[in-house]
Amino acid sequence: MPLKYIIFFTFIAVSIFANFDMPKKIIDQIRMATVAGYDYVDKETIQGTVISPMFLQKNQLMDSVYTDTSSMVYENRLKLNAQASEQLYNGKLEIAFFNKELAENGLRETLDYLLRDPTIGSRLYLGIVEESAYELLNSIDSSKGAGFYLSDLFEHNVQHGNLPETNLKMFSSGLESKTRDPFLPMLSKEKGFPSIESIAFFNDDTLVDSIPIEDANIFKMLYQNFNDGLYNLVTENYKASIQNVDSTRDFHVRDEKGSIKVTIDVKLSGVVREYTKGNLTKRIPSFEKDLEKDFKKKANELIKQFQELNIDPLGIEEHVRSSIRTYDKKQFKAEYQTLPIDLKIKFKVTESGTRK
């Protein structure tokens, strides 16, 4: 009997001692990268930038920016580690940027390491930078640290603003999917600080087009269900702003003797917050009509734009594939650009605030 326990304890002791020299990652002795940015230099070279905060004392931190050029991300990391006072790790990465030129040349290669590394979460935000990612990252001056500053900027725009739901997982889903195309928010530092300027659309992994963020609410409401939107209406006679827009959208696909019919059914309801022409309550039905007409016009233009570019960020093909058993990829691809897409919009104004 004692022999058994002696062997047990030897085993356990040996095991612990043998794994004792595993590389340790003590929080004070490593640098956690919170933001990464990649710029296009030439066909074979990228410039990689990483920001890592150092905590000085309570509520105080200092962001260090490291940057260098190389042919791939981890070769770059080697060079950045040569500049950093402690080793850089990816575990706290909040957001990653690619500049527009890089995105126009394809993102798949650069994206790979984000998906392959088990320490990087799927909630990581991705963004495109119109000019240079390095300069954008350098322009942030915030006591939060660049990582939280940018991820908070994204988060509230997703929850309450015009930015559709986006993260690494959704982007890579769109990228791999054969029936939809991905999109990403595009930032710019024209104003001296980073701001979300537009939404960039991709064909496979290359950036092909973008729409300004002011008009992105139409895309968002066609793309997903949403419950805290904003809608502005400008007509010749009056201007109005609707808040708390609650939208649900449904795709109806019908197969009528071989020709596919797609109807997008959007139901919206919201509260008026601004109205420039006095008494609103009397005019609500005609006001709702105006809203519907305006939404329909803009949505039609947007869908036309997608069809002309032959991209499908709304996943129309996905909806056709999933509801028609006779779906044929080749036939759909040939028809997509001229596919008639009907819109059924129902706008309901529920409240007019504290005034009539």
Partner: protein
């Protein structure tokens, strides 16, 4: 015969069967089984689960026809001393192989997801005494481990509601878009995740009122099927099929989206909790193998346990690498499929004929 004091209640069969089935398969079966049936592969899981209910039924017929004997004496009775002995030996080799596959795959996951620098030989030294403690003692210890192996990881099911927010139902539509043959082909790939039931042939004599235990075995199998189908459905609406091609452990991938204020990476908790479901798996297979060899050769149970653990230890150290591990996983799945769906029905028939012949002769 096994003493009554060493036997366990019939209800425990539920935990034994579920714990034997839920193993490493659950972490990555989604991107394996969709090879033929694509987004309909979740139906294949149901088909495989129903198939296993039939196999459990056949197993119970074999076991009850032979008055609660276990596999070694059934083999001996059916085929005679030599052929029966060889078949029992092959069966115990298969059980060892399965335990090695489960343990090695789990260690691979630790290497990839948690500690890339961990020394496999040293980590195993930590696990081997634990496994020895479980398999060398009484059967009740195994049952206890199996009980907690089903209970502890249960809370993980709630984490699967998290990814639903980022899911598209369109990914699994239209339902039944693949032919019945394709679905069957896919369910043959799902066998690996269910094949723990083969240990039933060994632990059957340890069940008190074993005749009553059949319904618990079926319920155990239905419970695992339900879990697998649920995990599979969540994964298939979360990932689209072209995305799954590149993903090795889809279940762990689902956890990557979970982020809590106090916990950045949920996988660490998940993988650690799953140890509670891996341990009974390995222990039950090894115990079953030890028990069969003990019945076959009459050498003491503890000596065989030590010998088998040395084999497992060496096998886990010399194997490694994604390519090889996925190869032995597929191989074991195929062998398990042949054993359970090919050999068990044959054994049932031959055994039946053999008993008829014997009865007529006497």
């Amino acid at each position: 015969m096994v003493k009554v004091k060493n036997q366990v209640p019939a209800l425990m069969v539920f935990f034994l069967i579920s714990a034997a089935q839920l193993g490493v398969g659950v972490l990555g079966f989604q991107s394996v089984i969709n090879k033929y049936a694509g987004h309909d592969a979740w139906i294949s899981v149901i088909v495989a689960g129903l198939g296993f209910n039939i196999i459990i039924w056949i197993m119970y017929r074999i076991l009850q026809n032979n008055d609660g004997a276990e596999i070694v004496s059934i083999h001996k009775f059916t085929y005679g001393k030599w052929l029966g002995g060889i078949l029992s030996f092959i069966f115990s080799m298969y059980l060892i192989l399965t335990s090695v596959v489960v343990l090695r795959t789990y260690i691979e996951i630790i290497q990839v997801w948690m500690f890339p620098y961990v020394k496999v030989w040293a980590l195993l030294l930590l696990l081997i005494p634990l496994i020895y403690y479980i398999i060398s003692g009484e059967f009740r210890i195994i049952v206890g481990v199996c009980f907690f192996g089903v209970l502890y990881p249960f809370f993980l099911i709630f984490t699967l509601f998290y990814p639903l927010k980022y899911s598209n139902l369109t990914n699994i539509l239209p339902i039944l878009d693949h032919s019945f043959t394709e679905i069957l082909q896919s369910s043959s790939l799902a066998i690996f995740s269910f094949m723990g039931v083969s240990t039933l042939l060994v632990f059957y004599p340890f069940i008190r009122e074993s005749r009553k235990s059949q319904k618990f075995a079926h319920i155990g199998n239905i419970y695992t099927t339900f879990l697998y189908v649920f995990i599979c459905l969540v994964s298939y609406i979360y990932y689209n099929q072209s995305e799954l091609q590149y993903i090795l452990w889809a279940t762990l991938g689902l956890w990557k989206i979970i982020e809590m204020p106090f916990l950045a990476r949920f996988e660490y908790v998940g993988i650690a909790t799953l140890f509670f479901s891996i341990l009974p798996n390995v222990a039950l297979y090894l115990w079953a193998s030890t028990r069969s060899l003990h019945n076959l050769f009459g050498i003491s149970h503890k000596k065989i346990a030590v010998f088998l653990l040395v084999i497992v230890y060496i096998a886990c150290i010399i194997t490694g690498g994604r390519e090889f591990i996925s190869f032995i996983n597929n191989m074991t799945g195929k062998i398990g499929g042949i054993l359970l769906f090919g050999y068990i029905p044959i054994l049932f028939l031959i055994n039946l004929i053999r008993r008829k012949v014997k009865r007529n002769a006497s």
